[in-house]
Structure formats: structure tokens, C-alpha cells
Symmetry: C2
Subunit: 127 residues, 2 copies
């Protein structure tokens, strides 16, 4: 598998993380060879933390792990897409997605609002 | 707006492109300051081509332009998400998305298959 992936000069490849149920883009992180291997072996997202310069098992501390359902590589093999079932929010701020700050255009997508309302209803029913 | 975005050392920021209607992740490309400015000014995706080292108006040649509906930045401001209405396929191979090569997990997502079937039906009706 690793021979199908083109790591950049710094040994990393960007990995887009998407919620497989809702389609929401959750975060962008980076993987090195080891992180990709661990992700495939364990079925949970592993990245390379650029700030800590170490392997990062997403959610190991917070519990907000991501169960990886599918990995795809793009046409020039230098970016990957992870479709995951998130166990909790992707963002360290507690938000579902890291992309919560609008730069341009109108507010949030209807698609995401619908999913959040559905989650909220489910949550109220259960709790 | 530009002060809200953290370009990397090479002057670029990764930009995830997502179909605003279907949620499908279409491609990952890079923007410099100028590309982001042009995108906002024109409402169409502009990137920085790393291979050609120049500003790249997506679809200028192929016609497969992307109308940008929304741009968001992530929590550490070093990645952006573009939600677009694509006028044609994102990939130079003619595929809807560049992420068509599976590395791990089962085939394609039901979500995307449903959207492609809907497009196919619409296309047959119209042509």
C-alpha cells in the first residue's frame, strides 16, 4: 500500500478527514509512513503531530477517536482522504469540525445544520 | 481576510475542495495569497500550481470551473475548506473527484453513489 502513496519531501502526506455518515469535512492533518501503517493496522486515525514531532493516535487522550471506514488517495498520489466514524468531536475546541470559522460566503451549509439537528434530537432522546 | 490565514513557510496553504451540494470531497490543492485574493474577488477557485509555479484559475482551459459558495479556515488557521458548485469534473482524468483510488476499506460510499446515479438520470433526461 505504501508504494501507492507519495510522501512529500518532509516525509508527510496531508490527510483530509471526512465524516462518512454526514459528509462533513472534519479536519486536515498529516501522516508519515508510520501513521498510515498504524491507521491501517488498527482501523483508527493516527497522524504525525508537526508541533510535537511524534506519532499521534487521534483521541488517545480525549477519547475522541475516529474509526476509519475507507482511505483513498488522489490522482497524483500526494493527498489522502479518510472517511471515518467519529466517536466524538474532531476539534480540540469541542466543535464537530475544525473548519468552523467562515472566511467568505453565507454561514453554514444546510447539509451540516440538518445533521447537527438530527444529532441533537438523538442526544436528547437518549439523555 | 488574509490576516486570518496562516500561510506555510513556502507561502502556501492547503485548500480542500468539497461539492457544496453532495458533500463529496473533490480535490486538495494549494493557494498562495494571490490565489486566495483572486478566488474571493471572482467567486471562482484559483490555486497556485506547484508544478508550473504559477497562478492557476481552475477550469480556465478545461471549462471545469468551480463557483465558490463558502470558504472556512480551520482552528489553527493553516488549512482552508472551499465549498463549491463544480461546473464539471474536478479531476484532470475526467472523474468527479480526484480521490477515486481506494487504499483501504470497502469501495465507494453509498452517499456518493446515490449522487452519481442522480446526476446520470438528470443527464439522460436532458440529453
Amino acid at each position: 500500500m505504501m508504494e501507492n502513496v507519495q510522501f512529500h519531501n518532509d516525509g508527510l502526506i496531508p490527510a483530509i478527514v471526512q465524516d462518512v455518515r454526514t459528509g462533513e469535512v472534519l479536519m486536515l492533518a498529516y501522516m508519515n509512513n508510520e501513521a498510515l501503517k498504524k491507521t491501517v493496522e488498527t482501523g483508527e486515525s493516527h497522524f504525525f503531530s508537526r508541533s510535537r514531532q511524534e506519532l499521534w493516535h487521534k483521541g488517545a487522550t480525549s477519547g475522541n477517536r475516529q474509526v476509519v471506514k475507507r482511505i483513498s488517495v488522489d490522482c497524483d498520489r500526494d493527498a489522502i482522504l479518510l472517511e471515518v466514524e467519529p466517536i466524538g468531536p474532531a476539534c480540540h475546541t469541542g466543535k464537530t469540525s475544525c473548519f468552523y470559522t467562515p472566511l467568505y460566503g453565507e454561514g453554514r451549509s444546510i447539509r451540516n445544520v440538518v445533521h447537527e439537528i438530527a444529532d441533537e434530537i438523538k442526544d436528547r432522546k437518549e439523555n
